[in-house]
Symmetry: D4
Subunit: 249 residues, 8 copies
């Protein structure tokens, strides 16, 4: 173990077996981990209560299971994203206590019970029904990270009265995640209504010039409302993660 | 003159100097203009009352004046678009009765008084103040084409209550032109409110990923509302022209 | 019910149980729906005779059937777009009186007979045979929205005499929908022939630099003819909808 | 005034001069502002202490001064962004108590003293010296919105030890704004170090394939770190605004 | 029949039953086909010896067979392009005398023997072996259009001595078709060697930033050699067709 | 001189001062120019009568004059393209017998009289008046390369009868250059009329989504007519050069 | 054989049967290969020890086997890239001594044992586990080209301490290949640490705006570190090849 | 000074004034620089003889002079890139011993004489004369980094015999930098000739679809030759830097 190396040098100094300058020189050449690592990782204590996360898309089932087994030793909750039905079935056979959310395409394994550490409510809004899977990924993420989460689906701007009919929910939220494909204009409208941070998530829903979500993304980046920041296309997990960080500031 | 050629053949037929089959053959090889031209241009009578239009951007002042002089002989009103201050001054020196709209960058010369032939009101809406020049080009165009025009400026979706505060105007319009830059979402909201055709005009207003209006254009093409059709970026003239055609259907 | 809340306050006022200022204050804090909603939806009466529309692409059969069942209660005609053969078969098993148009990929259910409310003829033109499915989607849409519709297929500009051979049809139309892939130039030619609104629909037909319809779209947006407005790539439904709105202005 | 209309109806009700149903009907058709406006704007009380903001780029000096005069009546602080030296000089001649920040290109007018309402420190980091103007715009924004702000400039990833040498500052921040052009990788590194929300701002600094900031933007959207959300290219104001919202959650 | 209409008028003129001016007026309003059509199609006599061509990609087998049957009546050779193995098999079952070229994905049916009308040799060159299918489509096209064709495959610029080893072939050609994917540089080199027209055909061969042939296309359009013109990506047929037109100038 | 080296070796062989194998070895290592160069350049005799061409855009006046002086020694005609007024004036001061075409932005110096070597007429067509400068560059190029050239300007597809009114000119041409901006559809129409090679030249004329000529370029590459090949945007010179090569096949 | 032709001419000179000038003329017209080819290929001796390489992606198994058989005659090692499992199985059936690397998708056949000719160590680093296949292709390539290779996988910048924990490996390398998808920032960090050439390889790993590797590519091209050059997306082979050339400079 | 902090702790240990565990804890929390910095910067000794470099483009003259003054204290040579004439004049007024290369737009100040540490010759090749400024930037960079540099300008592939005429120079080089705009094909040809690393530099030379160098960049990334790696558009400095690193491997 690296820390031992540093300890040894200190004992030598203590015992007067090497002089100060030589000790200094030796410490400087010690592997980084023995010293600086601790400093660098110090901030990680802030992350207590955060789940371990595995991006499942480009991994085989056996890779995922291997990683889950190692993670389980640390007794943190585990979230696997981008898991299809077939993969999920195999993972749950191995870890029967984990849960699969088919809509969100996530496997969550709550090794210890979730403690609510987020201060306010995270509200997740979608423009259409096709945006719901991405919203659900955000919801699962925000929940396992210790937040109270509410949702408001299918309230796009073509029938804007549906959105206004739910004003109360919107005004109660501390952080909002707004998920939209096509022209991606919903976050602008929502952000115009509330003085709260809005995380905008473009989805790949649409056809023709929706370009797999690029149009929605561009619309969100160019919002005429000021309180919006944006994550990658279909990145429900990222939105849930950012919202969770905000909710604990 | 070409028509004469056809006449000559008919006289030869009448006089029995050529037989029918030869006449038929000769008529078939006559220049197109002498016959078909009339047919093709027949529909143009529909255009009575439309102004002659000159796209001023890529033309010199002397080119514009030349064309205006020729057009003036036909006694139709004349509209010159994309004219800057300097050009306008010179044009007005030559045609003092023409009028320059500096905001719309148009010169209009009403040789005969405009007759209102459009049935309903064309309402022109902008999202921001920076979109007004494009809106004004549309307004000038629609007016000189014989329409009643109303406008509603600076009612973008970030403060959507301003738009709703003007519901009555919106519900009264027969055709709507909605001009917006940045994320270009205003036409979607407007089209969700009324069962009227909405012409969406993206503008090049914005910065960064607004890409000179492409983001607004894409937003409009991907609108989740169904009653929208779109013209080129900053094409106020085109919007005014299309709206006029619609208003006379 | 929300309207009741407002009524209650009025009774209290009437009975002198609260003073005017308190009533005013209470009314202001009433849920939006109880008051403004009615106003907002007022314009919808304009839509009488319009079908209910379901975008079938991203929905499962059971989702579609659920929505259709709810809609059927309102006794409006129903149009489902972007339905493939397999989905259609299942939908028709449940609603045997609905009809599937395999070319247009639509299911139409005429619960009540269509009343012609459109004034003129909507003419749908295609450049090639491959553009016909998109044109048919427009046709089905325009028909169920109460219009007389005619069509003219496979008259692209490479053999422009075919188009001219059908001048009469073109001159008779009140609104024109022109559907084209590849270079997308047909709307420009058609719009040069008639003083009528032309809705241009780019299709994804082509290969290489056709970029799934972007080339056709750009060609249409940059048309040197002035009477053209454009909808999204392959958006036959949108074109039919816009044309219907225009035809009732 | 609209409120009066409502009042009048209530008096009529009170006096029994109209029955309840007629009153109900009349209220429903009242202009939106008289009633719903209040509801919609209710949330705006949350914004107390926020400055009024003017986007100076597309406005003339006289337009800016007009707006400032009107705003000044509301006794809120005023921030004008995207103001060049020439415009600023004229604005300050009119409002001598306002201050121009040439680097940030902002004019701030603190009509009342700023109250610190943000909970933590907002730390603004830049990759290079050329990114500083955008960072300064964020700084000015965050300050006038009532936050304590710190900064750390020119610590890009090519010499990553400079960043690590400032760990303490980074670990102390509640919200971080990271501004970077070129490859835009700095937010990823920073977000890997802290469990705090990171607002990434791409800048247009670079040449060739930096595409005026698009490369930096894409890099940030695709970050392998999870706590990042992104605003538009060069949008320092937006970043400062979002960070302020987060800091008050 | 339309021609009859014109004939009738002529007989009336001949018989003195209508006067010349009335006849003139009537002729002008005759359907376009009866007269102008002939004029427009006059140039088509230039095309004698050209095959009829069917773009097979977006057509069903039965559509293709229908068209072939109609065409066969005109006794011109027939070329069907973009036909896969499965379609070809069915077509050949119906027209056993037609021939399928699996590499070129073409079906050719030589109803009458091909007469060589092209003056020089058309040489088709490819950069790699993967470009050969596109080259073969060009070859089949040029052959059925009456040209002598030679080819030179797999002589890309990475091993430029292979190209130079075949100088004689290159210098003998009257028109050259150069087919290349990846960076698309071969046409530049070839055009630098000969003072002959070079038709460049980009192919979709490559990966990553080859973008399905766009890189090759751009390389060809920006050639530093002057004698190059370009057709669409993978458009072997177009290249063969253009080369044939050139070879008969 | 290199040829001398080879001669020397042959004399040594003749005189028996070196043996055959050594001579062989020495010849193989001779500089390329002494031997192979001749072979490679052999084809250049085909180019007799072609002018020397200088791309003036990125060169200073003194660079251009230097090159012209050297070229003048070879007694070939000289063409300088992309020369603005200021540069031209200085060039003509030095070579008073050269001629400047301000529209085409070319300087031509006919050191010897041009001999017509092209077989047919090259016809240059433009869609609009703004496309004329590019057309003129093509015209100047084709003329100095020994061709008879005709032109037909401002016959775009929005008023297609103007084009048809000039059928005779079109049918007489051997090669056609069609220059168009905006949607770039004119080459498709022209190519549908004649069985002659059409060189399409996109121009940067347009605004918004014309993207400096890209839309026109894409339109041309995706033409539904088969006889079209394309050169770079605004590349009038290239079109004139290719047409000249074709006209001498 | 071509060399014989030259020899014959020399014998004629030697024997005085032709004069020097005639000999000179004849030599000049000899086929290129007989003389210049040798010169051109002279440099190829530098390549001794390099394997023959076949790009397997666009080739059939039988094509690959044919080429391998011909190559085997030259007794150089053979590397086939982009081979899937199915193809590999068939190739190995024919050449049982060849080896398939399923991860790298390569077949290597070491006909003669590899001699280490590279001077230093080539270190291959990946950002994530999904980048490993591309890294393995680079590794296989570098090994068969005679280099010592080391690797360091899954050390991306989101957890940068993992990278720093391996400083020693990094400082020992002579050439570094850094493979990364998503934002592609790892090469910048690595290049900031060492004064060694870094070959950056973007991978197509990611989703949404990763655009199949374009974002990573752009990030690498715009690196703020100076020692980086880049190859095509997923081009592990190219990186291994370039690194090998560098390692033998 | 930070090192002192560590020293102090060691003295305390030595003197027995703190125990080992406390010392360990204190060392771990020491600022990073005091310990790890040395380790991280250890590799920098490799950089001895490298100049300090300032990117002049986005800096004012006074900023540049400030940085130069600080750097001068370290007695390393200084290179300033992207300096225009005006800036250069002012810099040279302050540092008269520095030298300005107007073509390369660099200021070099050789405070100590350059020691040749590069092993082979770096050869810099350009396709056209317009590419020379970028090549010169590479040349200046490579020279001040201690390399022998040769150049070969204006040998593009349209006249490929000029390139072949200079084979000897090419075969002698250890590393090659190939600079090209337009289609960017020269690096492919060069890399096909030599088994040496080729650094390809795309330039922004061209027009129309050259897209400011993107076409050249894409051509280079997709080269069919294997020994090429690429730097950013116009990045002559980067190419010279990478080549220097390679030349010292």
């Amino acid at each position: 173990m690296n820390e031992e190396d540093l300890k040894k040098i200190l004992y030598l100094v203590k015992d007067g077996r090497i002089n100060i300058d030589d000790a200094l020189e030796q410490i400087k050449t010690l592997p980084f981990e023995s010293i600086g690592f601790a400093t660098l990782d110090h901030h990680r204590t802030l992350r207590q209560g955060f789940p371990e996360v595995i991006w499942g898309e480009s991994k085989t089932v056996s890779q995922i299971i291997d990683i889950m087994e190692k993670m389980a030793e640390q007794r943190e909750n585990i979230l696997v994203t981008r898991v299809d039905d077939e993969k999920a079935e195999k993972i749950l056979k191995r870890f029967p206590e984990a849960k699969f959310n088919a809509l969100a395409r996530t496997v969550s394994w709550e090794i210890k019970s979730i403690k609510i550490t987020g201060k306010g409510i995270i509200l997740i809004i979608t423009a259409g029904t096709s945006d719901i899977p991405v919203a659900e990924e955000a919801k699962v993420t925000a929940k396992i990270m210790g937040n109270r989460v509410d949702s408001l689906y299918d309230v796009g701007i073509a029938g804007i009265h549906r959105l206004f009919g739910q004003r109360e929910k919107i005004f109660k939220a501390g952080v909002l995640i707004v998920v939209a494909g096509m022209e991606g204009a919903l976050p602008s409208v929502v952000s115009g209504l509330v003085a709260r941070p809005v995380i905008a998530v473009p989805t790949s829903i649409g056809y023709g010039t929706s370009f797999g979500g690029i149009t929605a993304l561009l619309g969100m980046l160019n919002s005429c409302s000021s309180g919006i920041s944006v994550v990658n296309i279909d990145n429900g997990f990222g939105a849930g993660y950012v919202a969770s960080l905000i909710n604990r500031v």
